[in-house]
Amino acid sequence: MYPARFEYFAPTTLEEACELLDRFDGEAKVLAGGQSLIPLMKLRFAAPQALVDINTVAGLDTLAEEGGSLHIGALVRHKTCERSELLGGRFGALGAAAPQISDPIVRNLGTVCGSLAHADPQGDWGSVMLAVGADLEARSSAGTRTIPIEELFQGPFTTSLRENEVITGLKVRDPGPKAAGTYLKLERKVGDYATVGAAVHVSFENGTVGRAGIALTGVGPANLKATAAEEALAGRELDDEAIVEAARLAAEAAEPQDDVRGSAEYKRSVARVFVERGLRAAAEGRTDG
């Protein structure tokens, strides 16, 4: 219930933040929303020597379309995404996911980028970004680098972010002029982690699937990209047969475990049902453009 002692810093520039991360040499954590980090610290599962609070660093809270892609700054809250009209339509998977993250009060402070940095294998945003495609911007005293989402997660709560790096934002890749998607989440109650979550995204080209993105939550050691299912859809018309086949492949790719939420067989089946339902929704979204 009470965290262990730590030092606290509230830098106003990224330079200062990076300098602090360097100084503490891996023993400092970045604090943005804190809705994942502080609970861990209260249970003493995390006990960093220092917290570097970036909430007063200017310029990190932009949510905007840039060209055809979507920029999400490090301080963009889940609630901002939930309210934004930018996350519908071509970025439908994001728009569907945002209101389902945790609960409405946590969403006021928690951030998208913070969730990704936290890398909870049952986190929802991870699947969404894997499906839609995104590139993160990481900053350190050495400079800036881009981390494609496919290279971010290394295991439960482990990312390829270096200890002295802070995520400043991410860019959701341009899905093209005609795209649709959704996020389906089975949770036992609001605020629970997903029993099964499915992020489904389709970029259309000439009436067929240009690129499909399918990623699953809660059915593997990390957010799981169902590549075989995605590849099976590429170039095809998004008809019933294609949808059922892709869903089957996605379920096959899942690696669920038996636990209190259900048997592995159950979760695999829900993954299949969700991918099917998600693809049907995307198929219908196409006519809306």
Binding site: M1, Y2, A4, R188, K189, T195, R261, G262, S269, R277
Partner: protein, 781 residues
């Protein structure tokens, strides 16, 4: 003062206690702050079963800000390492030889702040030697099972008790003659009352006076004070227990917990107030859990009617037998299991076993195990209806006890006071539009949609109780009301019960208003301070209205009798010539010759007839002649998602009969709260253990409480069948909905799948479980 302004029984007046709560000015235990107060945190065992090899507190003691570290050894030196439970067993206060459940209290740190106390916990070094953990009573009762309670002399196994009720011979005969036997095995899982406020205390033993003032989250402050006197050896007049505002009890705040004892001992030793507030993990992992009953039930059916009921159960009691229930009943009032049905022969057998889990069992609005019994009979009845091919509503009606059979002597010894079960059921069906819904269900099935309708017609038993039968740790279960009317006509009512949100400050004032005509706004109600209230057994098992409410009515009437005497004196008339019209006595035939209760109250201090004692006050200790038997029918409609197994409540109709309703608004609030907890139990709440005895469900990540989003809306109805023996005709109601509703929800989900051969689902009825049933039945998407 016109009597029409006095609102007594039947009025939905707004609650007086709200004034402080809506302002954030409640006085809950963690709001209590005393000068020089220290903070205590408990160290808990990570193992379910282990020998304690050594305990080294030196590093913890050296931490700046730590004042003391208390171990089992230190407590043992003061004879306080063990304490009696409410069920006649003993329970470890701080472990000495072994730990017997994960989360068991091992040591305590007292420090200048809770933060520092928590820091110090990490510095206590305990060496454990793990032992095999027994996580089911079946395991624990095997011949070669390790002995959990090797601290108890003469305890040779993990068996605690065998208990029976009813007539075995008559029941066996009924079964022999039956043309059909319906059987069901079902498990009522371990869950937890989990009030929003955790348990805690501030123990203040004054070194100068020797007086111990213990602020405590206690639903039963008087009983706890007496037990403390016996346990701690402190003279009873020197112990004052004060229950402040309590943020929800639901039975969780009845037992004495080790934290209370250690905090009091620490305060005694240190000469300073010691505050202990448990955290949520402590609450879920160690305080009184609920249920955990493995049940087997059989119905004997002949010519379409139930002729016999046989039940047996194994109770998982945890590591110490600490159920908070009347001492003569090892399985509480489970033998109410014949429910609303006229069953001529019944037999109940219950066996209790120790396991390596937290102690408890009787909690969470269970009316002393009536939740378990009601669940079993309502599930059995539905299974019987299914197997017989009879509509479940009609099958119930065919077997209900009829109105002309009351008072009804049940096959297990209860005398039901009053009831009209068919009336409540028909009203529920009408509100639901039952016949239309059955048609809708059939049509939906054609389209591949799964809709289910579930009923439960419960009768439960509350209001413990008559002293000869009902006692807790020997203390008879009377309750009390002390009423004083002041010279200016206002009043103060003090009770032996203790609200945790049930609205006593309003409802009990309404009883006095009804009987004496004093406006409820003018009546202060006090509870919870053992120095300032009459002795009572507290609030749980829906007993406040049946027992303390009766005491309130009786004492109000006694004061009214004295008021009549004073009025006769003031009006210079004879008492027989006076008429009472709530709030005033007037002379028959001369209505203008009258005195109001306020005038009479003033006269009680200023103008009395000869030989009459001054004042207008008195106390009554009420010994109920019988229990009360609230009842009702709940009806639930669900739709099941064939792809995920998730189910949603589309409608929930609840018809309750708790006799006369003091404050309908408050009664409905109690019911909706109970319907929600019933939903939670049916759908998602579960405390379970892995094979090593690790508790899964000791925080809100794993122990799931429904939010406003999952919780259904409720349509409420009522019938009113007064209790003939209760002074105001009221029965209890606080637990009816937790007793009756889980079966209604489960019956509904089973009903959605029954056409495909599914006859049972176990709680919690998770989407995963439903899906497994769908799969098996060939209904999964």
């Amino acid at each position: 003062m016109a009597t029409t302004e006095v609102r007594g029984l039947g009025h939905s007046v707004k609650r007086k206690e709200d004034e402080r709560f809506i302002r954030g000015k409640g006085n809950y235990i963690d709001d209590v702050t005393l000068p020089g107060m220290l903070h205590m945190e408990l160290l808990r065992s990570p193992f379910a079963h282990a020998r304690i090899v050594s305990v080294d507190t030196s590093r913890a003691e050296a931490l700046p800000g730590v004042v003391a570290v208390v171990t089992g050894e230190l407590m043992a030196q003061h004879n306080l390492a063990w304490m009696p439970t409410l069920s006649g067993d003993t329970q470890a206060v701080l472990a000495t030889d072994k730990v017997r459940f994960q989360g068991q209290e091992v040591a305590a740190v007292v420090a200048e702040s809770a933060y520092v106390a928590k820091d110090a916990l990490e510095l206590i070094d305990v060496e454990y030697e793990p032992l095999p953990a027994l996580t089911t009573p079946q395991q624990a009762l095997e011949d070669d099972a390790p002995l959990i309670r090797d601290d108890k002399e003469g305890q040779a196994s993990n068996l605690i008790y065998d208990w029976e009720a009813g007539d075995k011979e008559a029941t066996d005969r009924a079964f022999a003659e039956a043309d059909r036997v319906v059987e069901l095995d079902t498990f009522y899982p371990r869950c937890h009352p989990s009030p929003l406020e955790c348990c805690g205390c501030v123990a203040d033993v004054n070194p100068a006076t020797g007086k111990a003032t213990i602020y405590m989250t206690s639903q039963a402050p008087h009983a706890i004070r007496t037990l403390f006197a016996l346990v701690a050896g402190l003279p009873e007049q020197n112990i004052r227990v004060i229950s402040p505002d309590i943020g929800g009890g639901f039975g969780n705040k009845v037992p004495i917990y080790p934290g209370y004892v250690v905090a009091t001992a620490a305060s005694l030793l240190l000469g300073k107030p010691v505050k202990w507030i448990e955290d949520r993990t402590g609450n879920l992992i160690s305080t009184g859990f609920a249920r955990d009953y493995h049940m087997h039930g059989e119905l004997a059916v002949k010519d379409g009617k139930i002729t016999g009921l046989r039940t047996s159960l194994v109770a998982d009691e945890g590591a110490f037998f600490a159920d908070a229930q009347p001492s003569k009943f090892k399985i509480g009032l489970f033998h109410i299991v014949t429910g609303s049905y006229d069953i001529p022969a019944a037999h109940v057998f219950g066996r209790g076993a120790y396991t390596n889990k937290a102690p408890g069992g009787v909690a969470y609005r269970c009316s002393f195990r009536v939740t378990e019994a009601s669940y079993l009979i309502e599930r059995l009845v539905d299974v019987a209806a299914l197997e017989l091919g009879v509509d479940p509503a009609e099958f119930r009606v065919q077997n209900f006890i009829k109105p002309d059979q009351f008072p009804y002597q049940s096959a297990t010894g209860f005398v039901y006071d009053s009831g009209d079960y068919e009336k409540a059921l028909r009203l529920a069906l009408e509100k639901l539009g039952y016949d239309e819904l059955r048609k809708e269900q059939a049509e939906a099935r054609e389209q591949g949609r799964l809709i289910g309708i579930g009923l439960a017609s419960f009768t439960e038993v509350v209001g413990a109780g008559h002293g000869k039968q009902y006692d807790i740790a020997g203390l008879r279960m009377f309750d009390s009301a002390e009423l004083r009317v002041h010279p200016t006509g206002k009043a103060i009512l003090k009770l032996g019960v203790k609200s945790q949100g049930q609205g006593h400050e309003t409802t009990f004032a309404q009883i006095v208003a009804e009987e004496l005509g004093i406006p409820y706004e003018d009546i202060e109600v006090q509870e919870g301070d053992t120095d300032n209230t009459p002795y009572g057994l507290g609030t749980y098992a829906s007993r406040s209205t049946p027992v303390a409410g009766a005491a309130t009515a009786v004492i109000s009437r006694k004061l009214r009798d004295k008021a009549r005497t004073i009025a006769a004196h003031l009006l210079e008339a004879s008492e027989d010539d006076l008429e009472w019209d709530r709030g005033r006595f007037s002379v028959k035939g001369a209505p203008d010759r009258a005195k109001t209760i306020q005038e009479i109250a003033f006269a009680a201090y200023t103008d009395l007839p000869d030989g009459v004692e001054a004042g207008l006050e008195g106390v009554h200790y009420y010994d109920p002649p019988n229990m009360t038997f609230p009842f009702g029918t709940y009806a639930v409609v669900v739709e099941v998602d064939r792809g995920t197994g998730a189910w949603k409540v589309e409608r929930m109709v609840a018809v309750d009969d708790c006799g006369v309703r003091i404050n309908p608004m408050i009664v409905e609030g109690q019911i909706m709260g109970g319907l929600t907890e019933g939903f939670a139990i049916a759908a998602m709440e579960l405390i379970t253990f892995d094979e090593d005895g690790n508790c899964i469900g000791s925080n809100f990540t794993d122990y799931l409480l429904p939010t406003s989003w999952e919780t259904p809306s409720f349509e409420l109805g009522e019938t009113v069948t007064p209790s003939p023996h209760h002074p105001i005709g009221a029965k209890g109601v606080g637990e009816s909905a937790t007793v009756g509703s889980p079966a209604a929800y489960v019956n509904a989900v089973v009903d959605a799948l029954a056409h495909a051969g599914v006859r049972n689902l176990e709680m919690p009825v998770t989407s995963a479980r439903v899906w497994e049933a769908l799969q098996e039945a060939g209904l999964a998407e």
